[in-house]
Each structure stands twice: as structure tokens, then as C-alpha cells.
Symmetry: C2
Subunit: 237 residues, 2 copies
DNA sequence: ACCTGAACACCGTTCAAGT
DNA sequence: ACCTGAACACCGTTCAAGT
């Protein structure tokens, strides 16, 4: 007697399709993701994909949701949204930094996610990020009147900065050296007209030498410092 | 004797092509900008456009540069980049707010510009924005060690927030009511699981009622306040 | 020098036809 | 229920041919 597996291992499914799409996006770039390429990789017809996924937008949305969910699954990012101040042992400012860096690194590793945000905010996985940030603001003791604007500024900065960073990375030809490209731009700034661009000339060396993650975190810290001036008290010991 | 005009008034030129592209982008959306549609509007062949512009990326870059240049031509945004503190009578923080709002409004009016930033930062018109912000930081008396990070955080937030705002606007069907769509999302947040999403439930009413420009400016102010804590002195009177 | 428009090599999406 | 792959209606870009 033969025991049939209820499903062939290689049966098409939304999960398999989304994973194949992520593989293509990461490995060959956004331009390489076509239904024909996807069908070839899955050894099926291009039309079969439409049985499982509505269209290309839905495919990109599902792939993005996957990546963000992954990024949020780190231990430091769950829990701690209690209004009593957290209670999971992580200082709220530090927790916000960890969440922010998690998003930054995830988008850096999957640059196409950045472009996707513009087309589909309010995705389910995003809600978990939003809540995690908001919960830490409660734990920080930010006064109620400032909740919404403080939360909005943080979330906007985190996703905006991560997206811009990834876009810069995507601009480069796949094999080229990132720091060399940056040095090129910094060199261009250093040669700008001193009368018109005194500031950019001054900061050109720092542009060429900066670390992206540190620069990103410095921005998060500036916003946190600004939020601190609203409540007017120092962080809890 | 006949005096020939050196150029027919309707002769093709990069300027005319870019303007026609902007008209299409603003009036019919990003999906409507094709070389065929552009050629039809300019009463020429689709191939003629390639004589004046390298490809579609260059066309979008030129259109974006136009819009940003326009946004920066406002009087309050020029000058004032002297290290002696400005001297054009506008308080630096207020000048930064004006510049930021100018960018925000320009991208709000031309939402496609937001999507374009990801593909081409470092555009010439952008440099003027970058310099204008940096110059005001000097005027604010920010210490040298903080120049780069403070500048970077401001510029990142301004373009990131403006882009995200425009993307949200673009998501909606052209005819629909913006506040109704926001109320829908806010309603969704209000119905989230209280155990998992206490923060989002709390701020849902503010999400539905907020003013986008005010929210944006509040973020700029938070960063400026954070920058203030770095230098540790109050703004000059 | 500048313009024309057919041709080429692609797309996303649909759908009759298969199993 | 799920899959196939040809067909449809598009794209951006090129290029021989015109003026």
C-alpha cells in the first residue's frame, strides 16, 4: 500500500511564492522580480501564481510584511508596552534604540522593503512596530499631550531614515565599494563654491567618514532628547 | 524679406518635455507618464524625446529638480548661511521651519517627487536645501562636534516625513476624502486588541483628527529642541 | 541637427483549457 | 481545486529612414 502525502512538498502556496519572491528581490534586485522569473524558479506557469496572490502589489506587500515581522521577532522588541513603565528590565530609551536599529538593519539587508513602505504603510507588521515605540514612550513618562507628536516623530524618522539609507545603498552598482562612492560625493562637496555652499564644504569630510548606523542612532537620540525637554525631567534611574 | 524666427515656438526642448512630464504627473499620476503619452501631448514621435533626454530616470530626475528648485525660490529660504549668525533678520529656528514647510508643501503638491527622492538623492537642487538647513544650524550656535549629526537628522526627517505624507496621499483613490480615509484607519486602531495594542488604541482619536502640517512641524521642533540640549543654552533673544 | 514611427524585447494580467 | 501557457494590451528603448 502506498501512503500518499496529503500535499506534494513542492505544491505551490502563498508562503512558498512569497519566499521565492524575497529570494529574488534580495539576490537579484527589484528589477529581477517578474512573474515569469518567479514562475521559472517555482517550476510552474506564470498564471498559477495568481491563484494564490492577487497581483504584484499584494506580492510585494506580503514580502514586506514577512521581513518586518522577522525584524520584530527579536526578544528585545516584544513586551514592555505596559503603561506602568515596562517591567521587562530594559530601559525605555535603550529599548527604542534597539527597535530602531532592528528596523534599520532589516531595511539595510532588504533594501527593496524601503521602497515598498511608500506604497503600503499601515501593514499589520508595522502596527507591532508602532505599538512597541508607543509603549516605550509611556514607559518614559511622556505627558499625554505629547504622546501623539512624539510617537509620530520617532516613527517617521526611523522609517524615513532607514528607507533613505537603503535607497542610497541601492543606488550603487552591486559590486562597488560603498565607502568609495561616499568619498566621491564628499569630494564633490569639498569642491563646491565656498560662497554658495560654505556649510556643505565644512561637513564634507564627515560625510565621507561617517558610520551610517551611528548617524542614524544620533538622530534617534536627538528626538529622544527633544522629547525629554517636553516633560522637563531627567530619565528614571 | 522674411525674418525667420531662429526656433519654432513649438520646437521640442528639454524644458518643454520636462514641463509636459510634470503636467502629466500632477494631473494624471505616475502611472500615466509614458513616452507614448508624452509624445502625444507634445505632438511628436516617442523616439524624438530621446534626442533631448537620456531615459525615463533622467526625465523624472529633471522633473524633480524643477519642483525642488521652485520650492526653494521662496525669499525666506535664500541667504542667511553666514556663520556670523545669519543677519537677514529671520530667527534661525523659524527659518528652518519655513524651509521644512516649503519642502513639505512642495512634495504634498507633487506627490510623485517623494517617490523620486529614493532613486536620486544628491540632486543639485537638493544641495541648496541641504546648505540652507546647515547654514541655519551655524546661526543657531550649534557646537562643531554636533554639526553633522544635527544637520543629518533634520534633513532626514524633513524629506522622510514629507515623502511618507505624500505616499499616504497617493494611496487614496483620486476623488476620495482624505479625512474620511484617516478616520477609517483610526477606527481600525480603536478596535485593536487592548492587550496587544494599548498605545495605538489610545492615540487613535488623535490620528483621526490631526493636522498633517502641524504634526510635521512638531517633529521638526522636537529635533530642534534636542539639538538645543546639545549646546545647552537657550536660543538667542 | 532633429524628428518619425515601426520594431524589438520585454512587462503584468487574463483565461480557455487541462488535470 | 489547482495548474498551464498562449494571448492581450501594454511598456521603455532603439534605429533606419526621413527632413
Amino acid at each position: 500500500m502506498t501512503i500518499r502525502t496529503e500535499r506534494r512538498n513542492d505544491a505551490l502556496s502563498k508562503e512558498r511564492i512569497v519566499q521565492a519572491a524575497i529570494d529574488i528581490l534580495d539576490g537579484e534586485g527589484e528589477g529581477a522580480l517578474t512573474f515569469r522569473a518567479l514562475a521559472r524558479r517555482l517550476a510552474t506557469g506564470s498564471g498559477a501564481i495568481y491563484w494564490h496572490i492577487a497581483d504584484k502589489d499584494a506580492l510585494l506587500a506580503a514580502a514586506t510584511d514577512d521581513v518586518v515581522t522577522q525584524a520584530m521577532s527579536g526578544g528585545a522588541m516584544s513586551g514592555g508596552s505596559m503603561s506602568d513603565g515596562g517591567g521587562d528590565g530594559v530601559e525605555p530609551r535603550e529599548a527604542i534604540r534597539v527597535i530602531a536599529l532592528g528596523i534599520f538593519d532589516a531595511i539595510d539587508a532588504h533594501p527593496w522593503v524601503g521602497a515598498q513602505f511608500s506604497r503600503a504603510p499601515w501593514q499589520p507588521a508595522m502596527l507591532r512596530v508602532f505599538e512597541a515605540i508607543g509603549g516605550r514612550l509611556w514607559a518614559l513618562g511622556v505627558p499625554e499631550a505629547a504622546w501623539f507628536n512624539a510617537w509620530s516623530a520617532l516613527v517617521t524618522y526611523i522609517f524615513g531614515a532607514a528607507t533613505q539609507n537603503a535607497a542610497n545603498a541601492r543606488l550603487q552598482a552591486p559590486g562597488t565599494d560603498r565607502s568609495a562612492a561616499l568619498a566621491d560625493i564628499a569630494g564633490g562637496w569639498a569642491r563646491l563654491d565656498p560662497a554658495q555652499y560654505p556649510f556643505l564644504r565644512q561637513v564634507a569630510p564627515q560625510l565621507g567618514a561617517h558610520d551610517d548606523r551611528e548617524q542614524f542612532l544620533a538622530g534617534v537620540d536627538l528626538i529622544l532628547a527633544g522629547i525629554g525637554t517636553v516633560k522637563g525631567k531627567s530619565p528614571p534611574a
